[in-house]
């Protein structure tokens, strides 16, 4: 590390205070600030709409940036990316549908909070967490990029395989009540992910003769179907029993500030989740969608009251939203230092840079240093704008949703679901998939199958399969091909994490018992002395 090929080697010996000041002055310009604001706001709205992903939001707005100079264009796209990932929390909390796949975990505790009339608190918590996560991520991007990017390269096919398996072990904590059902759900998700073209060999699987199924089950329609449709059906089914609206907290002043204070009093959760987010973002191909789920999993495992998660714990929302916003900047680390995007929206930014004639990678840092630093620092501004928009917009959205009676809300949500599912690939099949999986999800929920594991299976199936087959192909060069899965130290670490994560539901009650016994012993000692 270091040396002539190091991205920062041109700086050796120079004092760099100037570059930050130059970058700041570039940004303190009304036009740029307005663009960042519009980008963040637009991204938030797009992210809040289920079916419009962050990737799509960034891609759709690239043409608008053609008329801008490269820095203004890139800064706008960066703001959209940040805003979109944050915006996903709104629909996750209010209608149990992740606005983007990065907010799947926010549904788990966010929606129960909304049902209890604590929607504003959930949104406030998500906003604070997102902003904190984004700012943390930007610091990492600013100071640690080259080192982290080098580490990310050490992830090869075997490591991706274990990463996918680790992702599946999260199922164990999501469904502590019935791990068997969770595993069945997960495997069902993996099976769904195999529909379509095999990543290796290109054969078509499970298409039942329908050309449209070559594309497989798209993640977004599955997400919308599994998370949203059952809730809508529930909403309709019980509308006559309870009050016709989603309950809203009484107009309490200062919900935002008190929640923000609560969030900031969870530094360990925040730090843990943000670090996970950055790491997942840096690893190209880990997808970014799983950052929030891994963070959630780790928070649950580390908590003294794991069973409370899923019932409306603010901590749950905080962990998922801080992780997914830290992941945004994480995915930009390999993009800006190596020219390798860490997640699909970063890939679109890569394309945008190329269109403006700039090639991301070490040359960009060396030749267009000011440009890169201006872009990175603009992310700070984007996150702060998100805070303000969230404070005011969040409350408005929560009030709007809860003021709408079910008989208007339910069709509106279904309308959004249809548009969202169609918008991904312009395929009617996706809308059909969404409804089909939605009905299946409704039935499965009644039978005790949580949609989380199924969706995890859909996301992780391809990662696991590709990692597995690629590793075996590379392993042909080894005397015993299977050893390739165990040689890299990163693999070993991941395997240990998998074992820990999978066995946690069994091991943790025993640890609880030991803890209780120790506490009892201490108390007895104190009463004796």
């Amino acid at each position: 590390m270091g040396g002539k090929n190091h991205p920062f080697s041109h700086r050796e010996g120079k004092m760099d205070g100037n570059i930050y000041i130059t970058a700041l002055t570039n940004l303190l310009n009304i036009k740029i600030l307005i663009l960042i604001f519009l980008g963040a706001a637009g991204g938030m709205v797009a992210g809040a709409l289920p079916g419009i992903t962050a990737t799509m939001s960034v891609a759709l707005l690239i043409p608008f940036t053609f008329t801008m100079d490269p820095i203004a264009g890139l800064v706008t796209l960066g703001a959209i990316y940040c805003g979109a990932i944050y915006g996903g929390c709104f629909s996750a909390i209010l209608i149990n549908t992740p606005g983007t796949p990065s907010s799947i975990g926010t549904c788990f505790d966010g929606f129960p909070m909304a049902k209890q009339g604590r929607a504003e608190e959930a949104i406030a918590g998500a906003t604070t967490a997102s902003v904190v996560g984004g700012i943390f991520g930007t610091f990492v991007l600013l100071f640690l990029s080259p080192f982290l990017a080098d580490q990310a390269l050490k992830f090869g096919p075997p490591e991706y395989f274990w990463l996918g398996i680790f992702g599946l072990t999260i199922i164990a904590s999501l469904t502590a009540k019935s791990i068997i059902k969770g595993l069945i759900g997960g495997m069902f998700g993996v099976l769904l992910s195999t529909i379509g073209i095999a990543p290796i060999g290109g054969d078509v699987r499970f298409s039942f003769g329908q050309p449209a199924l070559q594309g497989g089950v798209s993640l977004i329609p599955a997400l919308i179907g599994f998370f949203c449709i059952p809730e809508v059906l529930n909403m309709i089914g019980t509308a006559h029993k309870i009050t016709q609206r989603i309950p809203l907290s009484k107009k309490r002043k200062g919900v935002f500030l008190s929640t923000a204070a609560k969030v900031l009093k969870m530094p360990v959760t925040l730090l843990r989740s943000m670090i996970i987010g950055v790491i997942v973002g840096i690893i190209p191909g880990a997808g970014g969608n799983i950052a929030n789920l891994v963070a959630y999993n780790e928070t649950v495992r580390a908590s003294k009251h794991p069973e409370k998660f899923g019932t409306g714990m603010l901590e749950g929302v905080v962990s998922t939203e801080s992780a997914n916003n830290a992941e945004v900047e994480g995915s930009l680390v390999p993009l800006l230092t190596l020219g390798i995007p860490g997640a699909p929206p970063a890939a679109v930014l890569f394309g945008a840079l190329m269109l403006h004639g700039l090639r991301p990678g070490p040359e960009l840092f060396a030749v267009h240093t000011t440009f890169v630093y201006t872009f990175i620092i603009s992310l700070f501004f984007a996150n702060i704008m998100m805070l303000f928009i969230g404070i005011f917009g969040g409350r408005m959205m929560a009030r709007a949703i809860s003021a709408t009676p079910v008989k208007l809300l339910a069709p509106f949500i279904v309308f959004l679901c249809i548009i969202g599912s169609y918008a991904i690939r312009n395929q009617m099949l996706d809308v059909v998939t969404m409804f089909g999986l939605g009905l299946a999800g409704y039935g499965l929920k009644k039978l005790g199958f949580h949609p989380g594991p199924i969706v995890l299976g859909i996301i992780l199936g391809p990662i696991i399969e590709e990692g597995f087959v690629q590793s075996l192909l590379i392993g042909k060069a080894w005397t015993i091909p299977w050893t390739i899965f165990f040689v890299n130290p990163i693999s070993v670490i991941l395997i240990i994490l998998c074992i820990l994560s999978a066995s946690w539901p069994f091991v943790s009650p025993k640890i609880e018992k030991i803890r209780d016994n120790l506490a009892k012993a201490r108390r007895m000692k104190r009463s004796e002395s």
């Binding site: 390269l153 090869g156 070559q214 020219g339 394309g351």
Partner: protein, 323 residues
């Protein structure tokens, strides 16, 4: 009386003929009068997307209507092409198409939803040959170094690439046959994941595209190019042919229309694309990204597709992949 009727009928016929002639001309002369939908069958930010976005503003100028880029992603492009062949053949829906994808898919899969011949080719505008690359600091300084090593250690050399089957995988298959070696091809979903795999040392090298070799120039060492002649942007890299191996493979990109689209409309579009693809700035940007711009009109492109179809049928049969 009879004279009047005769004159009237003649007049009537004349007017009808003139009107018919005018309508016929109007139908053609008026194209295009609505926005044209340019379908891209791959992910935004990818190469197909980038080339289309470079063409879009120029096309709009030449054709005088908006050109809207939309995406129909899935099945390696199959979803988009199967939609294209079902679209109205009025020239308002076109799609980017890629060789070898449009040829390999119907040959290998049972129900792609389209047949290669159904895509009415308009224009082919770029070629990216396969390039065999290793890391900058790799011990292999030339192709013969790599092949010697491969001969001594069968199965030890791994070359990553995008897709399976694809231009990259066929490139490796051809190399194996020509050089008599056993190099393992490791497929990745797309070209992007191959770069970290190589840079992290997880594969020996890549059978990738010229675009990757140019974009990541500082980190990769190209050993050979799979084109007929040396690639202009990589003048110091020998072709496989120069080194005695008949390996010519790569990807071509063009545009196609639904099967029944009238030839006049195809020609209007082909001329438009030709103007766009001869624009200096366009060519400059494309070459800077590692594309070799070609200029094939409908007949040339269609003939090329037929030639390649025969060639791939043979190779696939040898590899046992034909369905």
């Amino acid at each position: 009386m009879k004279k009047k009727i005769l004159l009237l009928s003649l007049g009537w016929i004349l007017v009808s003929l003139i009107l018919a002639g005018l309508t016929f001309n109007m139908a053609l002369g008026a194209y295009p009068e609505r926005p044209i939908n340019y379908i891209i069958c791959f992910n935004p930010g990818g190469e197909s997307d980038l080339t289309a976005r470079l063409q879009q503003p120029l096309l709009e100028k030449v054709l005088g209507v908006s050109v809207i880029i939309s995406y129909k992603i899935g099945g390696g492009g199959a979803l988009g092409w199967s939609e294209l062949v079902k679209a109205k053949p009025d020239g308002y829906t076109i799609a980017g198409d890629n060789i070898p994808h449009i040829i390999l898919q119907p040959l290998i899969r049972k129900e792609t939803g389209y047949k290669t011949e159904q895509l009415k080719q308009i224009y082919c505008f770029e070629f990216t040959p396969d390039v065999l690359v290793v890391k900058n600091d790799s011990p292999f300084k030339s192709l013969s170094d790599l092949l010697d090593y491969a001969k001594k250690h069968p199965g030890a050399v791994t070359l990553g690439g995008s897709g399976s089957p694809s231009a990259n995988s066929l490139g490796v298959a051809k190399l194996n046959k020509e050089a008599g070696v056993d190099i393992t091809y490791v497929p990745f979903t797309g070209s992007a994941p191959t770069i970290p795999a190589l840079l992290g040392g997880h594969v020996t090298g890549l059978m990738s595209y010229s675009t990757m070799a140019i974009v990541y120039k500082k980190k990769l060492r190209p050993l050979a190019v799979a084109s007929e002649e040396r690639f202009p942007a990589l003048p110091d890299v020998p072709t496989f042919k120069e080194l005695g191996l008949n390996v010519v493979e790569g990807a071509w990109r063009g545009v196609a229309a639904p099967p029944e689209t009238p030839d006049e409309i195809i020609n209007i579009l082909a001329n438009a694309f030709d103007k766009v693809c001869r624009d200096d700035k366009f060519v400059g940007r494309m070459e800077a990204m590692g594309f070799q711009v070609v200029h094939w009109g409908p007949e040339e492109y269609t003939k090329f597709v037929q030639k390649k179809t025969e060639e791939y049928k043979k190779i696939l049969k040898e590899l046992g992949l034909l369905k």
